[in-house]
């Protein structure tokens, strides 16, 4: 069955329209790759999926339940990786990760962190303060965060930024492992990431140039207005003042 679905999503950011009438679905073990131009709404879609923002129209469901209904449960099952690494310069890599482990209610925190650090090959940096890390090491620390605890859904926004070729391969391997456990990965990337059979979601298809949208709105408006004959009264009164 399809686990994670979205239907008829329309997204607005600030005052501009990002995409409209977008639908997606993902089964356990699926990987969905978001593609599109700059500003096509890859980040926005990931934020919608995470529940950080609400779609203007449409719903996102997990096993049939609207994610807006139980946000805490949805947050517990997902890991989100944004553009920023959220690493405090004065805290060590371990301490940086510790907060997220604690917030997820993980029981054996140290073991989990050890495992995550090893998986990303930064175990030796455990005690290093955030400010001494290179950007690639910071990114890997951020990636280590998504390995903490149980999760069913990874939402990765440009996870490869700042990573070298080997780390990318490492990431691909982690994603494969996660999928083998039944996890769903949805990601956007500019680099080719070696992922087996991803579903491709091309956001350019759902872009609505704003002029078309406005024309459409006007047409709706006109049909409504033509039903009532005194439609321009408002304007004339305004001119009279």
């Amino acid at each position: 069955m399809t686990v994670f679905t979205g239907s008829d999503l329309t997204c607005l950011r600030g005052e501009r329209l990002v995409f409209g009438d977008l639908s997606f679905n993902a089964n356990t073990g699926d990987a969905v790759m978001l593609r599109g131009r700059n500003g096509a709404g890859k980040s926005s879609l990931l934020r919608l999926m995470a529940g950080l923002m609400a779609p203007r129209r449409g719903t996102i469901r997990w096993q049939g339940d609207d994610i807006a209904d139980d946000k805490i449960a949805h947050r517990a099952r997902l890991h989100y990786l944004g553009h920023q690494d959220a690493i405090k310069p004065v805290l060590s890599v371990r301490d940086n990760l510790r907060l997220w482990a604690e917030l997820r209610g993980i029981s054996d925190i140290d073991a989990e962190i050890d495992q995550a650090l090893r998986a990303l090959d930064i175990h030796h940096l455990g005690k290093t303060a955030g400010r001494y890390l290179s950007s690639g090491q910071k990114r890997r620390t951020a990636l280590a965060r998504i390995l903490l605890g149980q999760s069913d859904l990874w939402l990765l926004d440009e996870p490869t930024v700042g990573l070298d070729r080997e780390s990318c391969a490492e990431l691909a391997r982690l994603i494969a492992e996660f999928r083998a456990r039944g996890g769903i990965v949805i990601y956007s990337t500019h680099v080719d990431l070696d992922i087996a059979a991803p579903t491709i979601l091309d956001l350019d298809q759902f872009a609505i140039p704003m002029m078309e949208w406005l024309v459409e709105q006007d047409d709706e408006e006109d049909t409504r207005e033509s039903l009532s004959p005194d439609m321009n009264q408002g304007k004339s009164a305004e001119a009279a003042i």
Partner: protein
């Protein structure tokens, strides 16, 4: 509850490592208080008369000075976004952060206040009440201030803005805080004022985390 402790511990650790924040707030408090004798003259009786008000005003300004940073750095480095996405009510996390803010700024102010009271020649009768009033009042300042700090996330000129938003809301705390000390100095019971301050604290404890969390969700959207 674990989440509350977790965020509190992390924020305290951050404050400890960065160090300067608490020291700066206390230094600002002392410097501001010191300015008053220069402004109104060094006569001991005048200073004694205005001491409680001066200490409260300086404490208000000092608490506000540190407010802007409560959420700002977390907002900028993406931490706030992740906190919003963690499987814990954001209100609880806000409460943890406010608690950390109070421990790193409010508490040092309470310790510094009697020293300044001595320097301003305040009568000894007022000391106890001053400490108690500040103990009740400064958490309310942190709670109310957090709303302002969350509202200005992403705004231009946030620092100036936060003072414009928050200072009018601080007026009740100032009135009753200074009033309590005044009453104690006159030898009257300050219980009424302290009770009202307690009520203000409880009200802000009940309302501020929700308002702050709402503002944060708006900011990270």
């Amino acid at each position: 509850m674990n989440a509350f402790v977790a965020i509190l511990r992390r924020d305290l650790r951050l404050a400890l490592r960065q160090g300067a924040d608490s020291v700066m707030v206390v230094a600002f408090f002392i410097v501001t208080t010191t300015l008053f004798p220069f402004g109104v003259g060094p006569e001991a009786n005048i200073l004694a008369r205005i001491a409680s008000g001066v200490i409260w005003v300086a404490a208000l300004l000092a608490a506000m000075l540190s407010l802007e940073r409560v959420f700002q750095t977390d907002y900028e480095d993406g931490t706030l976004e992740l906190l919003t996405l963690s499987p814990v009510p954001l209100e609880l996390l806000v409460l943890g952060k406010v608690c950390a803010h109070w421990l790193t700024t409010g508490l040092p102010l309470i310790i510094a206040a009697p020293v300044m009271a001595v320097m301003l020649n305040m009568d000894q009768d007022g000391f106890g009440t001053l400490m108690i009033a500040m103990l009740i009042g400064t958490p309310a300042l942190s709670l109310i201030g957090a709303i302002g700090a969350a509202l200005i996330l992403g705004a231009r000129r946030g620092g100036v803005l936060v003072s414009l938003l928050v200072l009018p809301l601080y007026i009740p705390v100032l009135i009753f805080g200074a009033g309590a000390v005044e009453a104690a100095l006159l030898g009257i019971s300050a219980q009424a004022q302290l009770q009202i301050m307690g009520a203000i604290l409880l009200l802000s404890l009940a309302a501020a985390p929700f308002a702050t969390a709402h503002a944060i969700r708006q900011a990270v959207e």
